[in-house]
């Protein structure tokens, strides 16, 4: 088991003929992920070929979903057109749209999120590294890799990882794998102020997943999503949880790379979020190098063995 995606999940890649989309479609195919269709308007009928795989390209997400039975799409479409690409997934009734694109105007995301209200489609991202459910093959291949994360650093196991940041996710996953601890699913929710899936949404999924035995929650300055997740964990989650917040040294009022990483007031500083984590029983990693160790401390305290 895992959350959101499994090795059997069939994937569409929107923007498969662009350099970025093509490169990561190839890496996902190499990982053993079922990339069953590509979408590039105007290139329908062509094929995306890689190492013997021949992925059909369609003009629309609806066509691709209908022809292949795919339920998930990953979006590599440039920022001005990415909002539209997300809504196309909603229109095609997909289960999940994962938007990798960085730099989508906030207003576009405000409108997209409003338009998605009540639909069955879940959005992860934008400006995110994607989702990985590791497989059982060499370097965790045979799993489902959606997006741009390095597949080889993973290991199949029972720790759920959720983060706004790509590289911090990799850091956490790599630490776990180096210690022989595998992951159920790793989810990057993205660094934008308006995103589809929150920390809390993912925490709820991990909590309900019997195959996830422990959780690493990685956040940063700005907004209150980490606080909301921490309070819910305190009330509802019995699994060991370790947390890390980036941006303790960030000056107020400056955007630190991520559009959403900005201190607006006293409540969204790293110190304030870390205080809430501690209050909610989350084991705080003192540095990013301490994330896996923090989880081990939490697991030990709760009598949970991780593997």
């Amino acid at each position: 088991m895992s959350i959101l995606i499994s090795p059997d999940t069939k994937i569409i890649v929107q923007g498969i003929t662009g350099a970025f989309g093509a490169k990561h479609a190839q890496l996902s195919l190499d990982y053993g992920t079922k990339v069953v269709a590509g979408v590039t308007p105007g290139k329908g009928g062509q094929f995306f070929e890689h190492n013997g795989a021949k992925v059909p390209i369609y003009n629309s997400v609806a066509d691709a979903a209908k022809a292949t039975g795919a339920t998930v799409s990953v979006i590599f479409v440039p920022p001005p057109f990415a909002g539209d690409a997300i809504l196309e997934c909603v229109d095609a009734n997909l289960d999940l749209a994962v938007a990798i694109t960085e730099g989508i105007p906030i207003k576009d995301m405000v409108r997209v999120k409003r338009a998605m209200a009540g639909s069955k489609t879940r959005l992860v991202g934008p400006n995110c590294p994607g989702i990985v459910t590791p497989g059982t093959g060499k370097d965790s291949s045979g799993g489902c890799r959606i997006g741009i994360a390095p597949g080889y650093i993973h290991k199949k196991g029972h720790v759920g990882v959720v983060s706004r940041s790509g590289t911090l996710t990799y850091e956490a996953v790599f630490q776990l794998t180096s210690k022989g601890i595998g992951q159920s699913t790793s989810v990057g929710i993205g660094g934008d102020p308006v995103n589809g899936t929150s920390h809390l949404d993912v925490i709820k999924l991990f909590n309900a997943d019997p195959d996830t035995h422990a959780i690493i929650l990685i956040g940063e300055i700005g907004g209150n999503a980490e606080v909301e997740a921490a309070r819910w964990i305190k009330a509802n989650c019995k699994k060991p949880v370790a947390g890390f917040i980036a941006g303790a040294t960030a000056p107020a009022g400056r955007r630190m790379g991520h559009a959403g990483a900005i201190v607006g007031g006293a409540e969204d500083t790293a110190a304030a979020k870390i205080a809430v984590f501690k209050e909610c029983g989350i084991e705080v990693a003192v540095t990013p190098s301490d994330m896996a160790d923090a989880l081990l401390r939490s697991a030990k305290a709760k009598g949970v063995t991780l593997s």
């Binding site: 105007p105 590289t167 990799y170 660094g191 907004g223």
Partner: protein, 393 residues
Amino acid sequence: MNIHEYQAKALFEKFGVPAPKGAAAKSAAEFDAALASLPEGATMVKSQIHAGGRGKGTFTNGFKGGVKFCPTKAEAREKAAAMLGNTLVTVQTGPAGRKVQTVYFTAASDIKKEYYLAILLDRVTSRPVIVASTEGGVEIEKVAHDTPEKIHKVIVDPAFGLADFQVRELIFALGFAGAEAKNAARLIRNLYAMFWETDAAMVEVNPLITTPTGEVLALDAKVSFDDNALFRHPEIVALRDLNEEDPKEIEAAKANLSYIALDGNIACLVNGAGLAMSTMDIIKYFGGSPANFLDVGGGASKEQVVAAFKIILGDPNVKGIFVNIFGGIMDCNVIALGIVEAVKEVGLKLPLVVRLEGNNVIAGKATLAQSGLALVSGDTMADAAQKIVQLVA
């Protein structure tokens, strides 16, 4: 992207948001023409810099106050001359202050009462929020903390836009009636239209004022825009004032690097925003002080690494460099080659600690080892951070 008050007021005029009549001057030669366009009598002189706290600021030449009330135009001309070309230090500028390159004259208004009005993104609902208060002209954070009941918020549904009942809600909350109510309603609607149509990140009017004759005016204006949406607003991009930005940040943006100058002495070069932030944090954790935030992105080229080195070495405060790369997909050897090339090009007299991990890391480490560069390798982020802190101390 931020703009000046005088530019924001020009946008206000375009969108029908009433403000006192004003005119900007970039040189003393422009004072007369600017003042001539305003009505006779009391005039305000306002220093134009991208920082708050101007009124209570002090110039480095000792002149007090970046915003002045002047009973006559002659005095306004005199005060403007004292401000223009001089450096203003406020609570938001830091000790270095900002050079005033433009002054803005406005007709002084008779103030009956001051209010607060702002529009920004509400991150909890992912919708625009209008924030209003009867307590204007003061720090809104303080009002929110001390008297939260005096802060009124209206969340706007982006599918419908600002509804009339919501405008009425704000009008009643602020206690407007008669002509004031009518004028305030129009101002709020027009300000929202401006926020929405220009892809603003925040529009803040503090204070919003009423006058004895029933006018409702935006006395001040602070406006910033969503950088991601600038591609569709060339008219907004044209308002950008590079004088207000750190030259190193401008240089970095040209090389497609995300860089923010800080006041420490250990420069960082990192891939990914989250890792870049936590690299600063870990330096501080081990007793050092970061000189910058620098994210070279997920697909950095050799050229970008060279550009990044030049930028961080351009900061005279820097006493050591910490390169922290987790190459997921990014090839660690590309980074290593970039480091070697950069050091050859710019020379290196400072301690350099490199932590490489991830894709093709063995080749990357070999490149660094064979280069003969005097650099120190770190195994983990914590190990590397401790090493650079020790070398700089």
